[in-house]
């Protein structure tokens, strides 16, 4: 019987962090609650004991200070990992991240690199309410100078973490909480767990993955919605609709070629995004299609996103509007049947 071990997304990412820290003395981690509790989302579990408090640094609640510290340390030759439990608080340090960390390489004429990784959790679905359940993908992706990755499964998480830590400029690595595999957030989604090689490997930036081949419609997802799209594809099979699922994996760089190749093949598109609907990832995907292959679409594309509202606390209210396999499949059926 196989002895493959199955990892959760969170564990796989942490495994990459451990390997990089063991093999590169310049790598260190800084963040809130990472020593005592190992991080709210267990990113740093066991690491303080293993690497010591010089390399696993507990920070005060001072996001700007931490990004500033990381930027300076990176410019001086270190490779910091900033653990920011919830992406919701990026607003506190947005200037330091977008104007210092992300622009220093360019504004110094290439004289400085800033090899830092910002690790944060995104998304909701567990009643953590408006200020602790956001994705904010578009806010980050809009700014030049940073790569942004959102793995949807354990294999991609480990490979993208290795790529992120080895990259010589800022990378934002986002854990979609709903698929991270953390017990206190509910039962881990089985699609996000899988066998992961023990040795290190990289998953490249800027390459989407076709997680399911199909012919009738393209479903594009990211993080949690990538997994939901696979569930939706199963539902659609019952109606004899063959859905192709594109897992973006990488927001910046965005793999517009793979998106367009899939839509050119199927002629129909539904984009699913857990972030607020307007001015975001889903619009960028539609723009890529509209700019490059506008006549490929046989019917108007649809988006299944969180609405442009503050995220409710009450479970029934949150789940009423959170994208689901059901709502993605409903949108796909409407597109296939030609409904407006």
């Amino acid at each position: 019987m196989s002895s493959e071990r199955t990892l959760t997304l969170a564990r796989a990412g942490r495994e990459a962090v451990i390997w990089e820290m063991e093999n590169n003395p310049e790598v260190f981690m800084i963040g809130q609650d990472i020593v005592g509790t190992g991080g709210v989302f267990r990113t740093a579990e066991g690491l303080a004991k293993r690497f010591g408090r010089d390399r696993i640094v507990e920070s005060p609640i001072s996001e700007t200070g931490v990004i500033g510290l990381a930027t300076g340390a990176a410019m001086a030759g270190m490779r910091p990992l900033v653990e920011m439990a919830y992406i919701d608080f990026i607003g506190v340090c947005f200037n330091a991240l977008a104007n210092f960390a992300a622009k220093t390489h360019y504004m110094s004429g290439g004289q400085y690199s800033v090899p830092m990784v910002l690790i944060a959790g995104t998304g909701g679905g567990y009643s953590n309410a408006a200020q602790h359940s956001q994705c904010l993908y578009s806010l980050l992706a809009h700014m030049p100078g940073m790569k942004i990755v959102v793995p949807s499964n354990a294999y991609d998480a480990k490979g993208l973490m290795h790529s992120a830590i080895r990259d010589d400029n800022p990378v934002v690595f986002l854990y979609a909480k709903a698929v991270a595999g953390l017990g206190f957030l509910g039962k881990p989604h089985p699609r996000a767990m899988m066998a992961v090689p023990e040795e290190p490997y990289v998953v490249p930036f800027g390459k989407a993955r076709i997680s399911r081949e199909g012919s009738d419609i393209t479903l594009v997802g990211l993080g949690y919605t990538s997994v939901l799209a696979l569930d939706a594809a199963d539902l659609l099979m019952q109606d004899d609709i063959s859905a192709e699922v594109v897992d973006l994996r990488s927001l910046v760089p965005l793999d517009r070629e793979s998106i367009c190749a899939s839509v050119a093949k199927t002629g129909r598109l539904v984009v699913a995004d857990e972030d607020y609907g307007s001015y975001g990832v889903s619009a960028e995907v539609l723009a890529a299609v509209a700019e490059k292959i506008p006549s490929a679409l046989r019917a108007p594309a649809r988006r299944v996103t969180f609405p442009d509202i503050s995220i409710p606390f009450a479970r029934q209210m949150e789940y009423h509007v959170l994208p689901s396999a059901q709502t993605i499949a409903d949108a796909a059926r409407a597109v296939v049947r030609g409904g407006a």
Binding site: M1, S2, S3, E4, R5, T6, L7, T8, R11, R42, G181, L182, G183, F184, K187, P188, M193
Partner: protein, 78 residues
């Protein structure tokens, strides 16, 4: 045959545990000390290691619950 239990010193409260995830499937060959399961008691998650080498047998599935002291898996020498 060894029982796989949550170490007594970790289980302080009178509550059930839930198997969050199995890292090795039922029937897999495991080695002593490998992390084989993630278990949660009252929102606190623990890594559980194999007590010996051998073939793992799940007694409780993922998302299933069990009581304090109960063996939720066994590892049988091959």
């Amino acid at each position: 045959m060894s029982d796989v239990v949550v170490p007594a010193d970790l289980w302080e409260v009178d509550a059930q545990a839930v198997v969050v995830s199995w890292l090795y499937r039922d029937g897999a060959v495991v080695k002593q000390g490998q992390v084989i399961a993630e278990v949660m008691i009252e929102k606190v998650q623990f890594d559980i290691v194999a007590p010996s080498d051998g073939v793992l047998h799940h007694k409780i599935p993922a998302n299933g619950t069990f009581d304090r002291g109960e063996a939720f898996a066994t590892v049988n020498a091959e």
